[in-house]
Subunit: 437 residues, 3 copies
């Protein structure tokens, strides 16, 4: 069965990381210092998309100089940068002067005489409004392409979704992108900007922290999916809290948003690795509202916490989860544990399951059960349990997503091959790059 996912419009199907850097810093002898630092990043520290930020990250008075810096630094080192380069310029749905300034900055950066343009993949527009405002931004890029004899549509365009108007525009993309009087097919990333969105929605929280904005993220992911684009979440302020950042990426991936803004190389490393299949598989025990990872002690997967307790009472068992206590016989306990346990497959497991299903399918079988066994130990009590799941074509295709992401990374980021082989081993990497093709 052919894959019905809407095909992406550009070479890259996935963007894990979106790193922004100030284009001109006041008071440094080299105001382009931050740009030179970022463009030198390689491997897991280098983002899939690097965005020299000539908007909020750069003081208004420094932005003309910033545009020159972008051109200069990208001309010098852009050829060797492993990710895509998408500078962010200034734009405002409600201010023609700012829009004109954004056009001027693009013209400076893209000027062929500066020899940066061949390394620049597109531009990022903040503060866009409804769909007609997106068309103005598209037209500005078309003017740049025309001025410098570039093919129309050759420069990609990405937007920051940071107001309600733009959230609503996400529903129009599929209809508008085909129209003859625009080049909106150049659209590439839809990036949420939760701080400005919070302002635009006039939301108030007691601590001043950001609301979760689950609906915005869903709608952005949906808009990207319907139009063949890529959804990216906004910045995560607390740069010390790497664990919280990683959890945000996991939450996002469950919504189909596999990319996130990065403010530091540490965040880049975390977000580059997060959507990749894990190196080691493991079992989760669902204890009330939380899922706890079991420890692999070789002979058994062991639960160490206090939340769940299990006690043998003659030929029966007493299982407590938080405040709930159950008296169970062996079969009931087994069933209970099967329901409480889930396996998190590593990439090796995924490839195995894929291959197993492909074989079955080739021999005309539409659905098979994937079974996984384990010995689980809780408070010294051991039990054999198994987790089995029916796989059909749809399950197979849904399960392919993380593998496709891996394949996309492998194809587009040779600078990460070494780290990927260290992580997974060459054999797993080989099989993962072959599968499904």
């Amino acid at each position: 069965m052919a894959d019905t996912v809407t095909p992406r419009k550009h070479e890259r199907s996935f963007v894990r990381t979106f790193l922004t850097s100030p284009t001109a810093v006041k008071g440094e002898e080299d105001s382009a210092k931050m740009l030179r630092g970022a463009i030198g990043l390689r491997g897991m520290q280098a983002p899939d998309v690097w965005t020299p930020d000539n908007e909020d990250a750069t003081a208004p008075t420094m932005r003309d100089e910033g545009a020159e810096n972008v051109a200069e630094v990208v001309a010098e080192e852009g050829a060797d940068f492993p990710g895509e380069i998408h500078p962010r310029i200034v734009w405002r749905r409600d201010d023609a002067g700012t829009r004109y300034q954004g056009l001027q900055h693009m013209l400076r950066i893209a000027d062929p005489k500066k020899e940066a343009i061949e390394h620049i993949d597109g531009f990022v527009f903040p503060e866009v409004g409804d769909i007609d405002d997106w068309k103005k931004a598209d037209e500005a890029v078309t003017m740049v392409e025309n001025e410098y004899g570039l093919e129309e549509g050759s420069l990609k365009m990405s937007v920051i979704v940071e107001c309600a108007q733009a959230e609503l525009a996400l529903e129009d993309l599929r209809d508008e992108m085909g129209k003859p009087t625009n080049n909106l097919e150049r659209l590439f990333m839809l990036v949420d900007g939760e701080v400005d969105y919070t302002k635009d929605m006039r939301a108030i929280t007691p601590t001043g922290g950001l609301p979760p904005w689950v609906e915005l993220r869903h709608n952005t992911s949906r808009g990207a999916s319907a139009a063949g684009l890529i959804a990216v979440d906004g910045p995560y302020d607390d740069i010390r809290d790497i664990e919280g950042y990683r959890n945000r990426t996991i939450e996002n991936s469950a919504m189909g948003m596999n990319g996130i803004w990065s403010l530091t190389p540490d965040q880049v490393v975390t977000a580059n690795k997060s959507p990749l299949p894990p190196v080691e598989g493991y079992w989760l025990l669902e204890a009330g509202d939380r899922k706890i990872e079991l420890d692999d002690e070789g002979d058994a997967w062991t639960y160490a916490g206090d939340r769940v307790t299990l006690e043998e009472t003659g030929d029966r068992y007493r299982l407590t989860v938080g405040d709930d206590r159950k008296e169970l016989d062996e079969d009931e306990l087994h069933q209970e544990l099967v329901d409480m346990l889930e396996y998190v497959p590593n990439m090796d497991d995924m490839v195995d399951s894929m291959e197993e299903f492909e074989e079955a399918r080739d021999s005309g079988i539409g659905a098979i059960a994937m079974t996984r066994d384990a010995t689980v130990r809780i408070d010294g009590v051991e039990m054999e349990i198994e987790d089995d799941r029916m796989w059909d074509e749809a399950t197979y295709e849904a399960a392919m997503t993380p593998v496709k992401l891996f394949q996309d990374v492998y194809e587009n980021r040779p600078d990460q091959h070494e780290e990927l082989e260290e992580m997974y081993g060459a054999n797993v990497v080989d099989r993962a790059t072959e599968i499904g093709s």
Copy 2:
């Protein structure tokens, strides 16, 4: 005040259950075996809508034979089947060949010479895209109707919403259904397909389990409500986990999605009963994040768990909920318990309340308080509490929904009358079928 709910387009206002069966199984001497099994179902085991599945549940190589099987089995036994019959045929928004094949399969199944069509209520289309793709599906059905001299629009059409494009199309239905160049008024069910949707959204979860997709379910329910259609949730994979399945139906009903896909007769029984008002009313005690059902011990409703404790200390009380401890006097305790307790009415209670309100309304009173008393016992401490709620016209109409669902079931499913009377008693059934009419 007349009811302003958008009137449904077809006889049935509610569909609780949507059971799919493979149309042709390889290697069986009778490849139609599964169809013959399903079409024989009656009573609570029989679904409101039965869908011979000539798509994913049937191997591609078996689908031509599958179409013949559907025609044959429905011709033989369709007259006696108590639910509606809506075969699913193949369709793909991105593959004209598959769409043409779907048309051919419909032509085979609907061919009057095969004498199945008089028992077939409509067809189900998977993998639809945006609204213009839905119109292609509608046109395919129109061709079938025209070819066989059936009235245009007489065959219903249902779709599986399993991609972002289709989710967006849900917003267009109300505007598009009236247009002169389509017969989209034939639309009947909007069925979510979360597995393919997860693939299309490129969502990733650590275990490979499905994300909750709350927004998709809300948008499907909203689209159904705005266009007078019926919302149905997708398959629930873990067929052993009947409790989880039942909880899913309760969660769905709170979103206005009163129907769900069923993979087995056990699931059908559960989903047929779940949205019906309960036989026995009971009290819930809200303990932190969970609601615990109290035990009816005749003289008092008793709480048995460990999460909430209550202790009499002289003329005061110590109430603990989880980690929270409160010292209260009698009035404060009473107020606290009133806030913590909620009553779940059974059908008898509902009919009582309806009748009470109708009387009040007829005597010119716009709003009345519905009060319910109970004796509650926690750790041996007893207290009289009451739960009262203001009812006005809007409350009355909102409360009518489960009763209307019951009435719709009673009218359309005579084969369930016996079981319903066993459950509720003939007297309650009589009053429930009369009320509100």
Copy 3:
């Protein structure tokens, strides 16, 4: 950087409270008694918007008299009422007779001879359907304006969003409001009506309680933001449960919905105060799924609960949160507590931060860290911790929302000046009204 929030269409930018009163009560010697009571409210007990309710709150047989009462009472006392006055009249998307009746009631209320119209700001329409139905309502108001020689568009129009059709219409407002053949720029408030919405969505809950309808509230807030309108939540039935009501307003504000329906003067007081910055700042300790307010004991912020425990073990510490126990050294504990603690700033703190940022910005600095120190005591163990957050232009503007709300209140509600000065002190009020201008 100019503020890009979509400018509101009317003088008021915020509505905290929307109080409804029956227009004519049967059996009272003065059927307008409730109106006279409400129009006499002042200060925190008076709502930002008062709605004499000639629909659901008034018996159908009393509504003609109700319209006369509204005109009479508003003519007599409307000049002195501190909030806006927006009567609700009858309307039904599916009943032309009701719509005509609504028009007649508006004509009675607005008749210049009755001298009420100069104190009436607009009308509220219930039961509206899709956008074309909103246009009918707009046209009815235009007829009233035309009949009495009022300027077209001078009367505001607000709607109750209580069906799926209206929820979908929220997405059309921005495009439709500019069109030459309507006066939809008169739109003012978008008010959710969850009881009727629950009926229209055919949602069922076991207890008959209302579903949370998070998506509806988000979509209403988004629609208001995109079109420059004001979002208001629906009625909160349990009028005794003031704490639950307050929590609802906090949840709403985090969605950008800063107003809520009030059924009683007590609810008005709560909802008028809730979105205002707190008088005293305080620290929150995140313990698992809950956030607990610490007690200010002068020398330290102290945690009193049982959920979190902290113990010194020689040169190390044992921290338990619910079931999780951690052994930490001093630095690890410090980091852990910093992650668990959040500060809720009072208005004084907010103004300080604003001023600090404005200074930095004027001196050309784009981003600064706002730091806050505290001594925290848990189980007798004390520790110095600090909470710091990066502020840039966007953070500053997002943080302005509660201050702008305060300024809007201060400008539009002179009758609350005294209470506000009692709450905050004259000095804080002065600084808060100056900042950002």
